[in-house]
């Protein structure tokens, strides 16, 4: 596998996009962020519903996720829009971005004198940041600078036998070339802990896997009671999945067969290379935010029922599990893995790889063409106050 051309950042990371983001520090600033993006549509908004009325674990999770997204490798510069009285202040978030050497500015709506003045000032700042970003260029780097995030959403009986095994082959290729792959969705590891533990590089990593999956299982049982081990989203049941073990085995094949080097927390960047597990939930939009916040520059997303979602700052490559889905949602799907049945898994994996290399170098993924930016959904463990 050859390397790719990316934007080298002062903190040693490499971006595959050069976005200028507008990130509210708190949900109350979403409206002003939206007005700034209306005035300067090239800027990328990172809307979310958080930033206040949280403490402890959830405050830590949200602060880490928002900070790591604002200073993500794919981000050239950030404007943080705060309100003034929130817990996660704009100045705090901006300080975290500044530590990576990125360009960052912040404004507070209360200090600026309201929405309109804030939006005007913010739009002016963003125009300058975009002009500076346009001066930056790509340089050739190796696969060792790449982190690939893996996701699946709206799985069907084919996800686990076509799309996921093909992505598993790709994962092994990335790891073999010195890159990093993050496999997550701990609820979809329930019932397969023993399989993952066998592949851990050390007893400590095996123990972390066991703890993570046991906690995911306990949480599922606490929430769902006796039905826990049978409960899968209705879409999955309609597609022919009959138990969470069946779904889990099909899910973890995405990671391939490499040794598991580390287990990281939600939105926590890996410290080493290789196949890494992230302790994040099965809810795809939340786990994808965690994987990107951990530094994944690209996400490979397999789907059986057909999920069009993307991510504001990272290309999301959609791998359809069947030719039927690929044909019916062609505007959203990048690869037809249904052809595994005729072409074999390795050939489909090579197609995903070719497509991914093009996308790393700047070609748009379908979700980017469709501006599937959406809203950030962040993992949250408890109620607000």
């Amino acid at each position: 596998m050859s390397g790719f051309n990316g934007f080298e950042r002062p903190d040693g990371t490499v971006g595959v996009r050069n976005h200028v983001v507008v990130i509210p520090s708190v949900a109350c600033a979403n409206g002003v962020a939206a007005e700034i993006v209306r005035q300067v549509p090239q800027a990328v908004p990172l809307y979310h519903g958080h930033g206040c009325s949280r403490a402890g674990r959830d405050l830590e999770l949200h602060f880490r996720t928002l900070s790591n997204l604002a200073r993500h490798p794919n981000v050239s510069a950030a404007l943080v829009v705060g309100l003034g009285c929130e817990v996660i202040k704009a100045e705090l978030l901006a300080g975290e971005v500044l530590r990576t050497g990125r360009r960052v500015e912040y404004i507070d709506i209360q200090a600026e004198g309201g929405s309109r003045r804030s939006a005007e000032k913010g739009a002016g700042i963003v125009r300058k940041l975009l002009a500076d970003a346009a001066e930056e260029s790509r340089t050739a780097v190796g696969i060792d600078r790449l982190i690939v995030g893996l996701e699946c959403g709206g799985s069907d009986a084919f996800s686990g036998i076509t799309a996921n095994p093909a992505v598993g082959v790709l994962s092994d290729l990335v790891v073999a070339d010195g890159g990093t792959v993050i496999l997550t969705e701990n609820t979809e590891m329930i019932g397969t802990s023993h399989v993952l533990e066998r592949r851990a590089v050390s007893p400590e990593v095996a123990e972390r896997i066991r703890d993570m999956v046991a906690r995911a299982e306990k949480r599922t049982r606490d929430i769902l009671g006796p039905l826990a081990s049978m409960v899968i989203a209705p879409g999955n049941m309609d597609g022919g999945m009959s138990s969470i073990q069946e779904k889990s085995l099909g899910c973890i094949t995405k990671g391939g067969g490499s040794p598991i080097t580390q287990v990281v927390d939600y939105a926590e960047p890996p410290t080493g290379k290789g196949l890494v597990l992230m302790d994040a939930p099965g809810y795809d939009v939340e786990s994808m935010a965690g994987v990107v916040a951990a530094g994944a520059q690209v996400v490979i997303f397999t789907t059986g029922r057909g999920n069009p979602i993307g991510f504001p700052i990272a290309p999301v490559i959609k791998v359809a599990s069947t030719s039927k889905l690929f044909a019916s949602m062609e505007d959203d799907m990048d690869v037809d893995a249904g052809t595994v049945l005729e072409r074999g898994i390795d050939e489909v994996a090579r197609e995903v790889l070719r497509l991914m290399m093009g996308i790393l170098n700047g070609e748009p993924a379908k979700a980017e063409m469709n501006r599937q930016d959406g809203i950030l959904c962040l993992y949250t463990t408890g109620p607000s106050f």
């Binding site: 069907d156 009986a157 084919f158 686990g160 036998i161 329930i190 019932g191 397969t192 802990s193 023993h194 399989v195 066991r210 999956v213 046991a214 299982e217 081990s229 049978m230 049941m237 597609g239 022919g240 009959s242 138990s243 969470i244 073990q245 069946e246 085995l249 099909g250 094949t253 059986g304 049945l341």
Partner: protein
């Protein structure tokens, strides 16, 4: 029909199958569907007695909650959860 692992006692239907139809399962031969098998669902490659494991990916994905005949449709109506020991 697609059998994912050698040890599996179920295969995945690659098209909708009507009860009574004979289908070819690579690596096993001809099998007669005992039930209608929806697209993407599982068909039993052999008789699965009540309480016995349903195997896919070479691993147990559940236990038969009732007797499943050869060629039967395997889903939540006849497969229950297996106790998880994570």
């Amino acid at each position: 029909m697609l059998k994912v692992n050698e040890r599996d006692n179920v295969a995945v239907a690659l098209r909708e199958i009507v009860a009574g139809t004979e289908v070819e399962v690579p690596g096993r031969g001809v099998l007669k569907a005992a039930d209608d098998i929806p697209y993407g669902h599982k068909i039993a490659l052999e008789e699965i007695p009540e309480g016995h494991p349903v195997v896919k990916y070479g691993e147990t994905i559940g236990l038969a909650s009732t007797h499943v005949p050869e060629g039967g449709w395997v889903h939540t109506q006849n497969m229950g959860p297996v106790e998880v020991n994570s």
